[in-house]
């Protein structure tokens, strides 16, 4: 849509109405992992647990693949999908590394060195 200037920001998906509608059931599934018994049920049989939710096949596959960027593209919100990470015993930093396509060591080192620079990351138009 032309009236969404934030689509110009690279590597970023704003969790707006469009994403929220797309991801409703995916995110509600993630929310269910706040209960210990649901985490157990999910771990015991991921596919069966996912099938309890009216999610799209693509969304289910993205969860099974732990494809964190794909989950976001399909309407996931990071505060929801991070509950899958918590279930897996992964930290925010570990999935952030995966989403930005580097090893955890590289990512941690980047953060220690002051983080990812905003230069070149403000607008798709300045990206080479």
């Amino acid at each position: 849509m032309t009236d969404k200037p934030y689509h110009d920001i690279p590597g970023t998906v704003l969790f707006d109405a469009e994403q929220s509608r797309k991801g409703f059931h995916l995110n509600q599934f993630c929310m269910s992992l706040m209960k210990a018994e649901n985490r157990e049920a999910f771990k015991a049989d991921e596919r069966a647990y996912l099938d309890r939710w009216p999610m799209s096949e693509e969304q289910k596959q993205a969860v099974l693949d732990r494809d964190w960027n794909r989950m976001i593209a399909l309407g996931g919100n990071i505060y929801f999908t991070s509950k899958i990470a918590a279930t897996d015993g992964l930290s925010f930093q570990q999935i952030a590394a995966k989403m930005s396509g580097v090893s955890q060591e590289e990512y941690a080192q980047m953060m220690l060195s002051g983080g990812r620079s905003v230069e070149g990351n403000r607008s798709k138009s300045e990206k080479r």
Binding site: P5, Y6, I9, P10, G11, T12, V13, L14, F15, D16, A17, S20, F24, N27, Q28, C30, M31, L33, M34, K35, A36, R39, W68, N69, I72, N77, I78, Y79, F80, S82, K83, A85, A86, T87, S91, F92, Q93, A96, A97, M99, S100, G101, Y107, M110, M111, L112, G114, G115, R116, S117, V118, N121, R122, S123
Partner: protein, 280 residues
Amino acid sequence: MARITAGVATSHVPAIGAALDNGRADEPYWRPVFAGYEASKRWIAEHKPDVIILVYNDHASAFSLELIPTFAIGCAEEFQPADEGWGPRPVPPVKGHPELAWHMAERLILDEFDMTIVNKMDVDHGLTVPLSLMFGQPAEWPCRVIPLAVNVVQYPPPTGNRCYRLGQAIRRAVEAFPEDLKVVVFGTGGMSHQLQGPRAGLINSAFDRDFLDRLVGDPVAQSKVPHLDYVREAGSEGIELVMWLIMRGALDEQVREVHRFYHVPASNTAVGHLILENAG
């Protein structure tokens, strides 16, 4: 009469809570973070607020996508730490101040802020990490806390201007409360961070430092900054900074900056922290 004496702004990074809870605060990675709050702990031990109005956001803990309040005020007697997926943080339950909270809810609604009144709610790291930073690990929190949850997860959050004006309305409401209470307002979240996607790990120290300066010295100008600037410059989760404007709106136009701390990184995030006292 109740009065607002000071404001505290601080990031509320979950990893800070985990570091403290797991006894890792003395590790080289974490030592500088906690060191930045040593003066703050002394300040608040001396300042002794009766009540903290703690502005924060819920991170898909109390509120799912079924219901998303823009401004929710916690009026319950007590709030339990939420299980965010790792079990609840081992911190004391949060004691509310129902009399003041209900009074605020009533005044704010009559003052044309469309509050959601909440009488049952678990509170996540957004609320408990700032308490841990300021009070350490006591057996009980030393004062009452009124949670004020702001939606910043579902776009759009309230505007900066609306947040600043809510702060001003909170001040009017508190000052109309007959009991003699010392109230400190916390604004939490931020500073620059992005937790998602290929741009994860974004940190913009120049933006953060400028924000700190403007929040102290020219909050009205800062309150006009659109959401897009925060997201572009400070990351998709940097938008949490609008909550600091609520705290700032509750203070005098002129404030005394008692303490400032800025550090990169804590996990994915730039940690910022301010203590502001009313000049009066």
